[in-house]
C-alpha cells in the first residue's frame, strides 16, 4: 500500500515547509486547507480496507471541515482587516525553513529508532506525523498573529491525527467523530475570539495582549 500513500506523505512534508516559509496569511490558510484534504484522502486509503463506510464518513467529514469550513471561518475572522501578512515573526522565514529541515531530520532519526509493535501502512507515516506535530508547535510559538497560531494549532492537530490514522486502526468511530467535532468547535470558538480581538484591539498581535500579568 506504501506506493499509494507515500506521495501524499511527501506532499504533507512539503506543505509543512511552505507553511514555515510563508508570510501571506491567505496563502497559509489555503495551505492548511490543502493539508486537511490530504489527510482526508490518507484516512480513506489507509482505512478503506478495514471498514469502508467508516472510512468514507471520516474522510468526508475531515475534507469538508478542514478543506472547506475552516478556511472560510478563518478568512471571515480576517475580513475587512488590513492584515495581510505575518509581519516580524519571532523567528524569520529563512531560519524557520532551516529549522524545519532540522526538525525533519530529527524526526526521521527518532522514528528509525522507535520499534513499532504494529505494522504501519508506510514507514514514512511516523516521521511525517511527528514532523507535522512539531511544525504546528513551532508555528504557535514562533509567530505573533493570533490567526497564525490558530493555524499552528490545526497543523499540530493534523499531525496527531496522522499518527492516529497510521496506528490505531480500530479506534471506535464515535471517538474519531468526537475528536473531529471538538476540533470543529475549537476552531469556531477561536475564530470568534480572533474576530472579537480584532474589533476590540484593532490588531491581532498576541505579544501585545499583555495587560494581564503579575
Amino acid at each position: 500500500m506504501g506506493w499509494e500513500i507515500d506521495p501524499i506523505l511527501v506532499t504533507l512534508v512539503l506543505v509543512n515547509l511552505l507553511l514555515l516559509g510563508g508570510s501571506r496569511l491567505v496563502t497559509c490558510i489555503r495551505l492548511v486547507a490543502v493539508q486537511g484534504v490530504l489527510l482526508g484522502i490518507l484516512a480513506l486509503l489507509v482505512q478503506v480496507g478495514w471498514s469502508p463506510t467508516r472510512a468514507v464518513l471520516l474522510a468526508g467529514g475531515s475534507v469538508l471541515l478542514k478543506g472547506v469550513v475552516f478556511p472560510r471561518l478563518l478568512s471571515r475572522a480576517l475580513r475587512g482587516a488590513e492584515i495581510r501578512r505575518e509581519m516580524e515573526p519571532y523567528v524569520g522565514y529563512t531560519p524557520s525553513v532551516l529549522l524545519g529541515l532540522a526538525m525533519l531530520a530529527l524526526t526521521v532519526w527518532v522514528s528509525s529508532r522507535l520499534t513499532l509493535p504494529l505494522p504501519a501502512a508506510s514507514h514514512l507515516l511516523v516521521p511525517v506525523a511527528l514532523f507535522t506535530t512539531l511544525t504546528g508547535l513551532f508555528l504557535i510559538v514562533a509567530r505573533r498573529k493570533a490567526i497564525t497560531q490558530v493555524l499552528g494549532y490545526l497543523v499540530l492537530e493534523n499531525g496527531i491525527v496522522t499518527f492516529g490514522i497510521a496506528l490505531s486502526h480500530e479506534a471506535p468511530l464515535s471517538v474519531e467523530l468526537g475528536v473531529l467535532l471538538d476540533v470543529f468547535v475549537a476552531i469556531l470558538v477561536m475564530g470568534i475570539i480572533v474576530h472579537n480581538i480584532r474589533e476590540d484591539f484593532d490588531h491581532i498581535d498576541t505579544d501585545r495582549l499583555a495587560s494581564l500579568k503579575d
Binding site: L118, L167, A171, P172, V175, D182, V185, A186, N196
Partner: protein
Amino acid sequence: MLILLALALPTLAGLAAFVVRGDRLRRWVLVGTACGHLALVAAMWVRRPRPLWGDWLVIDALGLLLLSITSVLFAVASAYALGYLDREGHQPHRDFEEGKLFSDAPEARFVGCLLLFLACMTLVASTQHMGLLWVAIEATTLASAPLIAFHRHHRSLEATWKYILICSVGIALALLGTFFVAVSAARPGGESSSMLLADLMSEATRLNRGWLEAGFILLLVGYGTKMGLAPLHTWLPDAHAEAPSVASALLSGALLNCALLGILRSQQLLTAAGLAPFGQRLLVVLGLVSMAWAAVFVIRQTDFKRLLAYSSVEHMGIVALGVGLGGAATFGALLQAVNHSLVKGMLFLVSGNLLAAYRSKSTRAVRGAVRALPVSGVLWVAGLFAITGSPPFGTFLSELAVLKGAIDGGRWWVAAAYLGLLAAVFAGMGRIMLRMAQGEPGEGVVPARREAWSAVLPPLILLGLALMLGVWVPRWLAELIASAGQVVGGGPWRV
C-alpha cells in the same frame, strides 16, 4: 440509565437555554437542572448504576467522587448565579479598571454554556474509555471558554484567548499520549486493543513499556496543563481572575478536578502495569514545583482573584504530590481535592461579593470588609483559615494525611519542603486577606446592612460542608475515597 439521565438532562437543558426567551424562566431552568442533576447523582450513591454501552460508561468510585463534587458545587453556584444575573442586569457597565463602558455577552449564551459545561464534566466522570475521556475533557475547555468571555472587555478577551489556545494545545498533546498508549497495547499480530480502561488494565503487564511511559508523559503534560500544574499553569490566573465569579468558582472547583481525573486514569494504568513508581516520581516533582511557584506569586500578589487562582495552583500541587507519594497520602490527596473544591468555590463566590461592593480587584483598595459586608467579610476570614489548612476545617485533615504519607515513606526532604511551602502560603495569604478584612472601609463604600440571601447563603453552605468534613468524615464518603484511592496505588488510611 441513571448515567444517561445525568448526561442528557444538562445537555438538553443547555440547548434549551439558548432558545428560551424569558430571563426568569431561563434562570429557573438553570437551577432546576442543577438540582435534578444533584438528585440523580445522589441516586447513584444509593444504587451504583450498571455499566452502559459495553462498559464505555461506567461510574466507578473515582468517577462518582468527582461527579459528586462537581454536582454539589454546580448546584450551589447556580443558586448564586440566580442572584448574580439579576444584579448584573442588561445595561452596559463601567469597567472599573479602564473606565470604559462594556456590555455583557447575552445571558442565554452564559446559561447555556454553564449547563453544557456540566454535561461535559459529567461525561468526563462517567467514561472509562481513554479516547472518549479525551473528547470530553477537550469539550469542557470549549464549553467554558465563553463563560470567561462573559464580560466583554479587553482583559476578558485576552484571558479567553490564552485559556483556549494554551489548554487546547496542551490537550492536543494528551491526544498524542492517548495514541501512544494505544500503540503500547497493540498485540504482536498487529491487532490493536480496545481503549477501555478495564481491558487495558486486564492485560496491563503485556503493554509495551517504552510506549506506555512516553504516553504517560504526554498525558501528564497535556492534562497537567489543564489541571494547572506549574510550570504549565500560565493560563490559569488570567482566566480565573477575569471570569465572572460564578464561573471562576466552577473552573477552580470542578474543571481542574476533571483534568485531575485524566491524570489519575493514566496513573491507574501505570499502576496496573507495575510501573507506578515511574508516574509517582513525576507527580511528586510537579506537585512540589507547583506549590513553590504558587507560594512565590501568592506572597507578592496585589489582585485578590489572582491570589485565589494561585492558591488553586498550590492545591493542585498538593493533590499531585499526595497521589505521587502513594500510601496514606493518596487518601489525603483525594480528600484534599474534595475540600479544595468546596472552599475555593466558596471563596470565589465571596470574592464576587467583595468585587461588587468595592468595584476593585486590588488587594489595596479593599479595606474593612468585615465592617462593610458583615457576612461576606466574616466568610472571607473563615475561608482564609479553611483554604490554608487550619483546624477545624477539612483541609487540615487532608493536608495532614499527605504529610503522613511522606513521613511513612521516609521521605523527609519532601515532608520538610511540603511543610515549609504550606507555611509560606499561609503567611502570604493571611497577610493579604486579613488586611482586606480589617480596618475601616474607605470612602465611597456603603456598608451593607443586609446582604442578599442569594449572595451569602451559597458560600455559607459550602463553608458548612468544608467544616463538616473537618470534624466528621461520613463513613460512606471515607469508604468511597479509600476505594477510589486504591485504584491509583494508594494504601489504607486509619485515623
